[in-house]
Symmetry: C2
Subunit: 434 residues, 2 copies
């Protein structure tokens, strides 16, 4: 059943779909040379052919009927570029059920339903590839599944959402609050009108769940993963971070901790010497630590028609090479175990805490004692000179590594002290790699 040509259909012609179509057409000859047989785009399906696009899809390729394209016996590979988990899911299921290879950059779909869809692909001996789901054009899924397959991955830490990184970079550079920086990002098209999925950390969560499932061979129950967005990060936190030698980044973290999955998304103090500290603007980067390979980092543009389109077409080439060899399903899902999630209360971190207290001698000692009585060991305390109000002082603490549960207990008691007026920020801290 090896093929002497490969035919592609693209369903959904938004930003990423258009980017993939452009590459398939403009680089047709080059791609075909690499695959060894012609790789031809036959159909592009969308419901609206009147909206403006960066690239004009030839009229002969345009269609509006997704199911007809999937049913077309000439089409070997279906690209799903619709987004969301409704119709997109149905398109992927239908295509796989017909034994077609499927490429999707849909992170929400793969994070929530990847297990079922990959099982269906395996049953059908078909490929389901999703490089574009994480890190835009940055090769990540394939290196993890293949290049690093011989090593044991211990930890993945990444900046995987360009919108929040752009906002945090803007806050740091312009000394802006979150709201202002968000508005600026929206004006430039780097944040959506409803920014919830990005700024509340959902997008990062889907992506780290996908990477973790591959690295650790265990599917991740994405609904149960701890995630925290950047809406609570204040300009003051970023200012103090800089004074202390840190950047604030929204990190997505996945690690193995005594047989449990420590997976979480939250704003994080990152030391300036950390390779992720200087990843700015819309760039993404993912640092992978393997027992033997040690630290490897992947960096690039995490979104956009060109980058994500490149990832999609890279997967099309991969599927096509498999079809030419009769080797579809060559690298199936290998989630062969089911590891428990480490509850966030059991996670161990260093922490940054900013509080507003009555400006009176003895207060720092009182709070430090309270931390100590809960086993929270302090690394430093710092009283910035910024004015915060009459007879009020701001105090910034950095703790040593402590279990989240102890940290919470300490803060709960500290909040009851009459001298403590407010604890606006508690932000976890990431160490630099050794």
């Amino acid at each position: 059943m090896a093929k002497d040509r490969v035919v592609v259909g693209v369903i959904g012609c938004g930003i990423v779909g258009t980017g993939a179509v452009r590459l398939l057409l403009e680089n047709h000859e080059w791609i075909s040379q690499r695959v060894g047989v012609p790789v031809t785009l036959k159909r592009v399906v969308d419901v609206d052919w009147n909206r403006p696009r960066e690239f004009s899809v030839p009229e002969t390729l345009r269609g509006t009927d997704a199911e007809a394209a999937i049913a077309d016996p000439e089409i070997d590979i279906i690209v799903e570029a619709i987004g969301g988990v409704g119709f997109a899911r149905r398109v992927v299921e239908l295509a796989l059920s017909r034994g077609k290879s499927v490429v999707t950059p849909n992170k929400e779909l793969m994070a929530k339903h990847g297990g079922d869809l990959l099982a269906l692909a395996a049953e059908q001996g078909a490929d389901l590839m999703f490089e574009g789901a994480v890190g835009g054009g940055i090769p990540l899924i394939k290196p993890l599944k293949e290049s690093l397959a011989g090593d044991s991955i211990e930890r993945i830490v990444g900046i995987v959402n360009g919108t929040t990184n752009y906002i945090l970079t803007g806050m740091a550079r312009e000394n802006r609050d979150f709201g202002e920086a968000l508005a600026a990002a929206q004006q430039l098209g780097y944040a959506e009108a409803d920014p919830t999925a990005d700024v509340e950390g959902f997008d990062s969560l889907y992506k780290i769940a996908i990477l973790a499932s591959i690295a650790f061979g265990s599917r991740v129950p994405v609904g149960e993963v701890y995630h925290e967005g950047i809406t609570g990060v204040a300009a003051a936190d970023i200012r103090y971070a800089r004074q202390l030698g840190f950047s604030i980044k929204l990190l997505a973290i996945a690690a193995l901790d005594n047989g449990a999955l420590d997976i979480r998304v939250h704003p994080t103090f990152v030391p300036v010497e950390h390779p992720l500290a200087n990843v700015n603007g819309v760039y993404n980067a993912v640092l992978v630590r393997g027992r033997q390979v040690q630290d490897v980092m992947f960096y690039g543009r995490g979104a956009g028609a060109g980058p994500t389109g490149t990832a999609v077409v890279g997967d099309v080439v991969d599927c096509a090479r498999n079809l030419v060899q009769g080797a579809a399903g060559r690298v199936p899902c290998r989630c062969f175990r089911s590891l428990p999630l480490l509850p966030i209360d059991a996670v161990r971190c260093r922490n940054y805490v900013r509080m507003r207290v009555v400006d009176r001698p003895g207060v720092i000692g009182q709070i430090a004692t309270c931390f100590g009585s809960h086993g929270v060991s302090l690394a430093s305390v710092f009283q910035p000179e910024d004015e915060v109000g009459p007879a009020l002082a701001e105090i910034v603490w950095i703790t040593h590594e402590v279990r989240e549960a102890q940290m919470k207990a300490a803060l709960a008691q500290i909040r009851t002290l009459p001298e403590v007026k407010e604890i606006p920020s508690v932000i976890r801290l990431e160490n630099a790699p050794a």
Copy 2:
């Protein structure tokens, strides 16, 4: 001819071979689960089983006869970890001739004889993989061949030699001259007793030739590529670079320039905001620019048993997956064209020039006029306050982009000026990505 088990033989048990053996044994179960069938190490061949190793190879696996291992009909995949282009070449040829898949991290072999060896592999329908040849454990070859296969690669710029990067980092941090920094690197085992291959740029040359051949689909005549090492870089150059906002790195560069291959290795002024400027010590990083994907960077440890061993075993997994599917030779060499090399004289660069001149009014004007008469446009001139000798001054020039031939002609004339005593350094300059 699909396989239900895959058997591996390793020829050469030095640092990298030992690293690969360790991974194949320690991660046997995990690797087999990923491949879907058992992946078993049957034989490790070396001429000397008495030298000390980081990992003890079980006696039952040890052998001394490479040809016997290659001839063993049970062995499917041969790992060549001998190094050099003598016996290593013969081992690879013999194994491929028998239709076996071959994995080699041997950059010199692949740079010099990759064309012939890959043709032999294609003829035999066998795999010849070489991820470990460039960037140690950093996934580079596979992402270029597969993940980015849909895009047109325009440029690759990398720090691909850990020894020279360690030396340059040491020179910058300790304000040392080349000789002292080399001695320190040798003491720590980061540079070899005969450091020629590293410090003269040969190692980087082999690696960039390999990356270029994949990215541009054209074999690179490695003997004709311009390369310059770091032995001429002085502590003063690094000091002035820092004052001007640059790091000095040994860059390996490959780009397409109007249908010609612009490939070269030389010390380079890299602006501090460039992603490669902060790649320090033994780390390697490669920045790939594609037309659509834009800038993607890969970063990690460029050498060592763990990192390079991981790359080798990643390739073994890849070969094994192909064997299981009967798909060996799935991603063959695609050098389908033969592009000419751009002569170094036709390359356009900005330049840093350091000269020693008689400290007298009018000298700068005289030299600037000389530059101008050869069409060399100047971006800046700077006279450091460092003492260099009685009545002598050091002058540092940065030029705008200029063809190498013009630059040489200008410098030849400037050297004839009686006021110009010496031109100790001319170093090319790389712009930051847009």
